[in-house]
Symmetry: C2
């Protein structure tokens, strides 16, 4: 049950392989009748080009590499879904690897992609990553590369949401709704994403001349458990917060759970704003107010930037997608409410 090759087709028809090759790819220099015959036989025999032979010739694959910190985390999974769909549409397959949020694995994953001669690489950095030489090495080999979601200040194309500004808006909203002591829950400080979001928070406080309280800022890890402990610590403060901004996926659920476990009322005693998928908001009660990110769009744009590079446009581009505050039930209403719908 061998696969049929161009040579097989050529033999059956008593012609040369190169003719078959030309005929099948629609190139000039084959008589219409012969081409017809060849194409027909190819179809009959279910001929499929051998991708390795093609790749060996051209030294590239119709495959792109994707590196994420955790595929099982719905945030990344949604991004990957669109990325994969767009790639497929453009004739690419996706090799997806999980760095388990560790720098060493990330380096290994990226190198593996390079060894696989992928057409390009899309990376979401791990929480640990602070050395970017593995990324530069990719660039030096002229392999297209794009960073998304968790990026770094490097001269590579990127796709993110408006991290700083979205938190600024959230903070302003909380202040306007009467919050006096707003806490900020983030990931590792070395992550640009956390840094940027924290920056938005601090900026907003400064703008409203609200003193910054160090004990209200907790930036450790984006894990559920980390969020749980941090929130508990916040609630144990002599002067606990009356609002919490949970700046990454699981932290909102963790904060929500911690607050409920203390028997506090949301939002009467304390407000919560998260950065999670919207369906999570749908199943909590009260429903979590959150910053809505267009995850699919992040994936789509990331592929677009990569595809541009594959097609020869090597200019570095930075895309910032607007994320919007979606008011639900874990925040108080403000009387003179600003319209956030188009800010």
């Amino acid at each position: 049950m061998k696969r049929v090759s161009q040579r097989d087709i050529a033999k059956m028809l008593g012609v040369n392989v190169s003719t078959v090759s030309r005929a099948l790819r629609g190139l000039e220099g084959v008589s219409p009748e012969l081409r017809q015959k060849i194409k027909l036989l190819a179809k009959e025999q279910a001929y499929r080009p051998n991708p390795f032979a093609v790749s060996l010739r051209y030294d590239t694959t119709r495959t792109i590499g994707v590196v994420v910190p955790d595929v099982s985390f719905s945030h990344f999974a949604h991004i990957v879904k669109r990325l994969e769909a767009e790639a497929k549409k453009a004739g690419y397959m996706c090799i997806i690897t999980d760095s388990d949020d560790k720098y060493e694995n990330e380096v290994e994953c990226v190198e593996h992609m390079v060894n696989m001669h992928v057409a390009g690489i899309v990376v979401c950095l791990s929480q640990d990553t602070s050395d970017y030489s593995h990324l530069f090495r990719v660039r030096e080999q002229n392999i297209p590369i794009v960073l998304f979601d968790r990026i770094a200040d490097v001269n590579l194309s990127t796709v993110v949401i408006n991290d700083t500004d979205s938190v600024r808006q959230v903070t302003h909203y909380l202040i306007d709704s009467g919050a006096k002591r707003i806490a900020f829950l983030g990931g590792a400080n070395r992550m640009k994403q956390t840094a940027d979001r924290k920056h938005g928070y601090l900026e907003a406080l400064r703008e409203r001349r609200i003193p910054i309280r160090k004990e209200l800022v907790k930036c450790h890890n984006t894990s559920f458990n980390s969020g749980l402990t941090d929130t508990m610590e916040l609630l144990d403060l002599p002067n606990p917060p009356d609002a919490i901004i949970a700046a990454h996926g699981l932290l909102a659920s963790a904060a929500f759970k911690a607050v409920l476990s203390r028997g506090l009322r949301i939002p009467e005693d304390i407000s919560i704003v998260g950065y999670m998928s919207d369906w999570v908001s749908d199943i909590t009660s009260p429903r979590l107010t959150f910053v809505k990110q267009n995850l699919r769009d992040i994936g789509g744009k990331a592929f677009k930037l990569l595809n541009d590079q594959i097609n020869g446009d090597f200019s570095v581009k930075h895309i910032v997608l607007k994320a919007r505050l979606e008011l639900r039930e874990t925040t108080k209403k403000i009387l003179d409410q600003e319209d956030f719908s188009d800010t």
Copy 2:
């Protein structure tokens, strides 16, 4: 900035390519000194074998294909995560594609994998799939294949949880906790998974001599919205259910939301048992009682079966993993409680 090949190394050292090939792969027939020199230079020059050339020679890749209905759905994402991790450990990369729960896409994905000459394919069937010829075609080409989670009654290796039995247990539990009218929410009837789970439900009712009420069984679609409408319809019955078994991921969240929106108390007015990831249970309040599936294990076992086939063991195996009822807060206690911990 060209990649260095065996030939390059050979030239630099004034030896033959075949010697380099042997040296690098640790084969017999190279003097220790020469081997040392070759290995050293290879390392210096960052030599990496060209996977296409190797694949072209051997007509196979260190790549496995994974087809899932929806990567962004946390249930599948968790399975894929372990699958990918195990594959990586064994030296395989994963090409992951999303069938978007449609039969046509599934067929296309599978065929694409075959064209890519993957070493094996792991598939979770789409909701639509009722024709399995695309799977048999894979088998006929001697390409290893394994089904998981949503399988079919075909002569191929599979990995699933104890679908029928777990629902039987759930139903018994609900009956024992006083439920009189237990509703069953499932996916499409053509899915074996739904059929099996429904079977467990019906079996349990029969065992307890409880009449089956057709209007309490809703099997349409595994989507959130479908669950929402179905639950609403159940609640609108003249004689609504006092317990709901939501037999697939999102259906539990949907049922939960629908019930709350009607102002009913859980579990006092109505009990709910779901089949979701455990972290979903953690963020609802009351926390959802659910059937806990070891998703990671499904992924791990699926890879194991595939790897067995890749290594020449083509016997068809069926693995059934035990899923256990995890009591939380959306079901009532039963006084003389059975111990489910090791059933």
